[in-house]
Symmetry: C2
Subunit: 314 residues, 2 copies
Amino acid sequence: MIYIGIDVGGMSIKAGAVDADGNILFKHACPTGVERGYGAVIQDIAELGISAVKKAGYTMEDVKAIGIGIPGIMDQRSGVVPFCTNLAWHDVPIIEEMKKYTDVPVFVDNDATVAGLAESVKGVSAGCRDSVFVTLGTGVGGGVVINGRVFSGAHGVATEIGHMVTVDGGELCTCGKRGCWERYASATALIREGRRLCADKPDCALMQAVEGDIMKITAKHVIDLAKAGDDDCAGIFRWYIHHLAVGISNLINVYDPEVIVLGGGVSHSGEFLLNAVRAALPKYVFFKSMPCARIELAQLTNDAGIIGAAMLGR
Amino acid sequence: MIYIGIDVGGMSIKAGAVDADGNILFKHACPTGVERGYGAVIQDIAELGISAVKKAGYTMEDVKAIGIGIPGIMDQRSGVVPFCTNLAWHDVPIIEEMKKYTDVPVFVDNDATVAGLAESVKGVSAGCRDSVFVTLGTGVGGGVVINGRVFSGAHGVATEIGHMVTVDGGELCTCGKRGCWERYASATALIREGRRLCADKPDCALMQAVEGDIMKITAKHVIDLAKAGDDDCAGIFRWYIHHLAVGISNLINVYDPEVIVLGGGVSHSGEFLLNAVRAALPKYVFFKSMPCARIELAQLTNDAGIIGAAMLGR
């Protein structure tokens, strides 16, 4: 038996035929065309998936399940997507819509959850029963695997780890609360602190790197300068690592996984980030002499969405 | 088949014979006698459990499993209790020790975890697959039930929810970190804030209630005065409810359970606490229009330890 894995983003739909071990047999993609409404997008999802199976040399008789990763949340009980901002979806009955095109069981989950599952099947957390995947991007997302299965909670709103408050009364979050972890551990946080640095110190190396245009500051600028030994950016980086480690220690306190996988844009800074987090973490861990989660970088990149979605139905 | 449930505390060992529905058939207790060392304590645990079965009119042939709740953590992989401060245990091979007295399978877990399991079988969260039990006592402990099973993580250090940082840089915790949730949501936090009030305002109602001795301040004093309309204590209570709600919203973001059960000493303030938390929570929840965990008070009191321990092996 094989599986269809579909990775739906605001820009493109990627679909693949995937074997039971998480190997992609065939994959292709098309533009999402969000403006057409959910009916047309879901039709494309189904057709792209079905054609991937044919192009891989199989028939739909061989397909055990279809998995779909979305940049939003899924209510598993109702089969409805309550919110999906990037797709402009609100209360979309995705399971019912998919039934128009196929009788194969359909599983839907959040994209960070799906990426975490992919890592636990084919990536850095392969073989682990319990893992937490943390995307350090525009926000901070989470994908939790417990006992080898994705964990989404009773109402599909679990693993909103970016909105765990770590600094009560701190930075205002897009969600309306103050001090959510993602205000301190996302790429956006590094950019905000970089802009503040440039406002305070207009002759700093970061300002020079972006030729005086603070809107051009990226997380990579800040981290690269920290790595190159610039004191100002090294200060921001230490601040960032502190907050990243505080949140990771919270994840250890609540989930106690075997491994915590760092993914998303900030994780592309690689060993420099990884070594700093690993060095900082022991100070924040509750049981100093007990084993706890090891910290790793995500291994899968573009294919994580397809592989993880496919594995939802395994 | 029946089960043996044992609740081990620093002062007493309670043992019961319990049926598969969580009903206690017979129970009794003895002093712990911590100073005798773990060997003698574990012998008493075994003998008290075995005699409870006989006194309930059964034989050990009828017993499917023995469960033990301890005020510490358990390493499920090694069968060893790494730490248990109240029993002065360090690296105690409890499973191996129990084998000296019985061949029945033995399960051991943290007491808050066990109390949470008891609530999910016979208490306020009965029938729920996913629940989080929060003890608001000297510290803040957690008991997490996922899919009807206790969740203790990969290394037995999960559900240390009291040491989740919610106020980075805040109050110093006994664990060495700053801003752990239990510094804000425990009975100890209410006492600390009450003492601070009395130091700042020696003629306050709280100071009068304890006749000028701030060492006599309890969480109950503060809450009772808040309930009676004292402005100073009402201010502390609002502060407490804010921090309690912040942490509960974090639990919703990571576990998304069906119900969050409040237990421990502070929960004895009953509806006054419950109504305040329920009123505050919506402001802190990420998905405003989605259903999320309902908040309830624990129903079981003294028997939770025996019932929950027994259900570990169900």
